[in-house]
Subunit: 405 residues, 2 copies
């Protein structure tokens, strides 16, 4: 039996031992309600780190630089700025990323090679370096600065997304903190999903890398808002080992407990990203069961959650099984329609490939909830996966058709 | 030099020699403005036929039956009904498709094996066979019945889509006619793109098959409205040879002329489908040049034309190059951003990967036209492809979030 997770009040990336964070307003983010636009996250001791990054070939030099430093090891600090993505500005992008890190690392007195960078915002505009140079010195690092830090990565996110939890591993209480910002392509040219996780657990590097990939595959990678992948997407984990546990390695009971705790953090953040997508007030989960393999279940779940027609149906409280099964049908997963069962919040809508009688008004009432659960059983095997999506609303189109400027 | 195409006034599937068509109202399509809901297309002599069909695993038995009969050869008649897709109704679907064909073939006095079927409309509802039995005898076939036939395949299409053209091949004037209906997922559970083309040209079967695939690849398959693929999509060509030309074979000058004429017909119909998509009043083309290969150009063009963010930007007259290049970046095509050039209606927006100064108000004015042309040059090779998309509007969401019932 594994230990239960204890969620913390006001949990954040600075909740784990030895992490401090802070933010300030430099003047980059002139359009946002929440003004913090530069932030620093720092561990007082060396960290084991792992990262996953956008695979878009149009990539920010902030991402490339961060990836290279994480790969080289020895990273324990992170500088973030929001409002401008530092993408599509030619060679100046790398120059500005390096300078931003240099200033931030100097401000907190660590070597520049130990710091990485995250930028998010408008594409095609250079970072206003004079503002950044003036702003960074105003960042004060504190033990509860993780909440401010979470605000400093927001672009048009409506609320900050922050979490912390504690769990006992190997006799020690370890803490995991996290924050994230909008994966929706929220504002014209705002195009980034950033998520940062910290922990005071001691974790072996290879295990941290593999557990990050496994958890992201089932959380952030199963979230869909509009299917576009940004130039700056980044998920990172910093583990500083200050909880004093024996370093967690693959294949141990501690690894399972850590996996589950990390999963809880990232699942929470993923769902908050979907919930906060522009124009969305309702999210839905798509659980696919009975696929031939886990991979096929993932394909089907993602296709259903990504379908504009399904998302519109969720918005309209329409128990539209035809769109759901049609999306599964083109997903690439193997399907024998005569074996398909489909339910919405446990009300069976379709069985053995044909619609069955259901109480339409009751289902519509269920679908009016802020969270709707679709379950599709393909009846072919053991593969299961869950994806999340948000409704497609008129407001999405309104937001995303406004002028860039 | 190839012969120019001559577009016909009121051209339709009954324009080519030996084709007749007609339609009637059976009472299936209670919701549509345009009431014709059953139709028959017939060649007075034997045809060479070729078809392409949805690859969705959730497929209508109408499609499966049609495919099998086309593969067996000897098809010269087509029965269509609109309002109900004949999909997701279990074994009854095949029974009803067979009976519908039997009645229609009997009505026009040909063997049932020589007739195929196309159905479109709501999924999960059985065909009302009593209405169909009563309706088919009212269909009268005439030489100009192709226009009525084009109306009989409409669901919530706003206008019928019909075309005819003549071209000289091997000293003979040959005629090609065509019609199509909505590829947009137009109405809740309406989910079909149907296109039927007729010609009096004599065409060798293998060539007809290959030219159909080639042309569809560059026309219907490059059209994107919302990315969902229906359960009933079908494109068919009927060639009856009554023009008296020598049968057209691959690799001949006549093959090139026929290719171009068929391309003109299918390109026209494809663009009309996009233009008529629900809520859309503006279409855009995406030409990708300089890709490493034609296949990569296709990937990039389709990704750009399919992006919800790009489509929203088109709606908002927003020259948002960041979204366009980001979509190319995740398409799978190889990209070196420093070599990318992007223009809108020949106004250069980005060159060598960085935005350049352009007259924003002028570009916004250009984008306000009903047709916008985006061109992306990747600067890496000779691959080119063109895709079409329509704007994403608030009205799309409104249509597609209404209740099924």
């Amino acid at each position: 039996m594994t230990e239960p997770n204890q969620f913390l009040d006001n949990g954040s990336v600075s909740s784990p031992k030895g992490f401090k964070a802070g933010a300030a307003y430099a003047g980059i983010k002139t359009y946002a309600k929440d003004k913090w636009d530069v932030g620093i996250l720092l561990s007082e001791t060396a960290c084991v780190t792992a990262g996953m990054y956008t695979t878009n070939k149009f990539v920010s030099p902030s991402v490339t630089l961060t990836k290279n430093r994480v790969d080289a090891g020895n990273v324990r600090g992170l500088f973030v700025s929001s409002g401008i993505a530092n993408t599509g500005v030619g060679e100046q992008g790398l120059i500005d990323a390096i300078e931003s890190i240099d200033i931030a690392a100097g401000h907190v007195d660590i070597p520049a090679e130990e710091m990485v960078i995250g930028t998010t915002g408008v594409i095609g505009v250079e970072l206003p370096m004079a503002l950044i140079r003036a702003g960074i010195p105003n960042i004060k690092l504190t033990d509860d600065g993780g909440i401010s830090f979470a605000r400093s990565i927001m672009t048009t996110d409506r609320v900050p997304k922050s979490i912390g939890l504690g769990v006992k591993i190997g006799g020690k209480v370890i803490t995991i903190g996290g924050c994230a910002k909008g994966s929706g392509m929220i504002h014209p040219n705002m195009a980034t999903m950033l998520a940062y996780v910290t922990t005071d657990a001691a974790v072996e590097h290879d295990f941290l890398n593999s557990v990050l990939h496994d958890v992201v595959d089932d959380t952030f990678n199963m979230v869909t808002i509009d299917g576009d992948m940004s130039t700056n997407d980044t998920v990172m984990v910093f583990a500083n080992g200050m909880a004093g546990n024996k370093p967690i390695a693959s294949g141990t009971p501690e690894a399972t407990t850590f996996f589950q705790a990390l999963f809880s953090v990232m699942e929470y953040l993923s769902k908050e990203l979907v919930r906060d997508a522009e124009g969305s007030s309702k999210i839905f989960s798509v659980r696919v069961e009975g696929a031939k393999s886990r991979e096929e279940a993932r394909l089907a779940a993602r296709a259903i959650a990504s379908s504009s027609l399904v998302k519109s149906a969720i918005h309209g409280n329409d128990p539209n099984w035809g769109r759901v099964i049609a999306a599964a049908g083109y997903s690439g997963a193997d399907i024998d329609v005569s074996k398909v069962r489909f339910d919405i919040n446990n009300v069976v809508i379709m069985d053995e490939g044909t619609p069955i009688a259901f109480h339409r008004e009751a289902v519509i009432a269920i679908m009016n909830n802020p969270e709707v659960a679709l379950t599709v059983n393909l009846g072919l095997g053991d593969g299961t996966a869950t994806a999340w999506g948000c409704e497609l609303t008129e407001a999405y189109v309104e937001f995303n058709s406004a002028y860039t400027t």
